[in-house]
């Protein structure tokens, strides 16, 4: 084979990588030191963008909103996915039907799901509120109450993604050797003790994967609030990514938007490192 042949073979990937991954990353870091509105030429501003960011209360609120979302979303995701996986792991009638049914929302477009849920949670005509009024309870402003809206979105996101995590947990559960449960049976463990002392520690790596995946997924929260609430009410559902998007494509503050994105990426990295430390101690 010619010497240049391997290079030729990897060149399509390298080209794609350089244009769509490496260049944007490098360019956005360069952007953080500039002011640029796409039309006029870039202007070097030094650390001005970073100084601005530190005092930008809206950005920190968006980060906090995202964290609030994660605090509800991650435990809920694990709880629901693990419970359903446990149930599906038994020999239940129609298990494969349920498996498919739970997975369906994962492959449906996020926009479609969000619009469906918007209808479902609508204050006046939503099914949920109608059910509440039927049983004599007051309506809830699921998407309009600043104290509730973000949590409604968290529940919806859980519903959308739970199928994926059920599959992950099922794989984890099925990798636990049956003999461990049999040994525990003989030692007198109850179902709960078996779950607590065998299942949970054995699927710890799966739990970590789920936490990391849903953390990263949660940090990139965008479609749901963009369509359902547009960040409202009172910016309580404004997610970090949405704010970055606004800065870039509504206000054309490209340099500042890049700065936000860069800092936000650092925050995510920091969180994942902490999670990893914690899990490594456990295992």
């Amino acid at each position: 084979m010619k010497k240049w042949m391997p290079y030729l073979l990897v060149s399509p990937y390298l080209l794609h990588f350089s244009v769509f991954v490496a260049f944007p990353v490098v360019f956005s870091v360069v952007l953080t030191f500039h002011s640029w509105n796409i039309i006029s030429p870039m202007k070097y501003v030094g650390l001005a963008n970073y100084r601005h960011l530190i005092h930008d209360r809206l950005f920190w609120q968006a980060v906090w909103n995202t964290v609030r979302f994660l605090i509800v979303h991650i435990p809920l995701q694990i709880l629901v996915a693990l419970t359903l996986a446990e149930l599906l792991n038994r020999t239940v009638r129609g298990a494969s039907f349920f498996r498919a049914a739970f997975f369906l929302p994962v492959i449906v477009s996020g926009v479609v799901v969000t619009i469906l849920w918007q209808q479902l949670l609508s204050y006046n005509s939503g099914i949920l509120n109608r059910l509440l009024t039927t049983v004599g309870m007051a309506r809830v402003a699921w998407l309009d109450d600043p104290a509730v809206a973000m949590y409604s979105i968290a529940v919806m996101a859980t519903w959308k993604n739970v199928g994926l995590y059920i599959i992950l947990f099922l794989v984890g559960l099925q990798s636990v050797p049956v003999q461990l449960y049999e040994a525990a049976d003989l030692e007198g463990a109850t179902n709960w003790q078996k779950f607590r002392y065998i299942t949970l520690p054995m699927i710890n790596p799966t739990i970590f994967t789920v936490v990391v995946l849903s953390t990263i997924g949660g940090f990139s929260l965008f479609v749901e609030p963009y369509i359902m609430t547009e960040g409202g009410p009172m910016n309580t559902t404004l997610s970090a990514v949405m704010y970055i998007y606004r800065q870039a494509f509504q206000y054309y503050h490209m340099g500042y938007s890049a700065t936000l994105g860069f800092c936000f990426a650092l925050i995510i990295l920091f969180v994942v490192i902490i999670q990893r430390r914690y899990v490594e101690q456990e295992v």
Partner: protein, 367 residues
Amino acid sequence: MAEVILRHIAKAYDKGTNVIKDVNIDIKDREFVVLVGPSGCGKSTLLRMIAGLEEITDGDLLLDGQRINDLPPKDRDIAMVFQNYALYPHMTVYDNMAFGLKLRNMPKDEIRKRVMQAAKILDIENLIDRKPKDMSGGQRQRVAIGRAIVRNPKVFLFDEPLSNLDAKLRGQTRIELQKLHRELLTTMIYVTHDQIEAMTLGDRIVVLRSGDVMQFDTPLKLYNQPANLFVAGFIGTPPMNFLAGQIVRKDSTLCFLSKQKTLTLPLTDTGHEQSLKTYEGEEVIMGLRAEDISVSLIETNQTLYVTTIQVVEHMGSEVLAYFTIEEQRFVAKLSGDTLLEFGQSVYVGWNLGKAHFFDAKTELAIR
């Protein structure tokens, strides 16, 4: 006291396959009983039924006179050592052994005492803080046994515990298990497919085949008085040699008539006289242990056949010689200094007084 009695025990799966058929076994207190048989004979299933991990379809399982068919595993006071050890990988040796006791809310001091005591018996005190992944197969094996010991159960069950160990370690552990049985003085039920393990460990052995008990007896009885063709062929290495034929009377003496020979039976030695008489004219199978066959390079007064050596295996202390007699593969066990080579012509004979006879139809021993 721990007496285990199986009365008409049977197991069938939904589709009507009987994996265990009417098993009757009485295991005495402190007895070491081995369940042995080829793959798929139901030995592990039977053990798991005693443990409570498999449902019993029919019959009674009695522990000290109490029927325990419907008791959950934890209430049976039985401990089991699994083939792949089934240690909890995320726990240390100490925690693995203490787990069952913690679940029973035993005081910490007592747990510590019991675990350390078991660790001492098994010589694993120095491993107490390790996790299973940091130990060898033999060490894991000990921990698995330790986990059973600490609970001080009425009955120990072993499911092929040595099958994952190398040959040398298997031999050592066999000896240690015997020692352990003497020290603990507890009823033990042990499953294996290895008949050497069965012969060396068991006070008594249950030979199983397709869910049926073929024979339940002491190792020596199994070897010397196999109840049927299956046991005769299964117990003993190398396996017993078989030759089909007929019992006939010739000049008022009983003879074994094979395809090629008519062999006079020296009935005075065998004690088979009365029973063999009734088989006159019937098809039978003669069985001969490898050590009861003589092979020599010169003709002797025992010589019955002339044949050619096909394979010679030098085991050191003994030599196994393989050849064909009446189209049947035969093996003879000879002393280690016998010099034989492939292709040599040899004179083969045997002492008919040592022969076993089986009914060709029922395969039962004729005694």
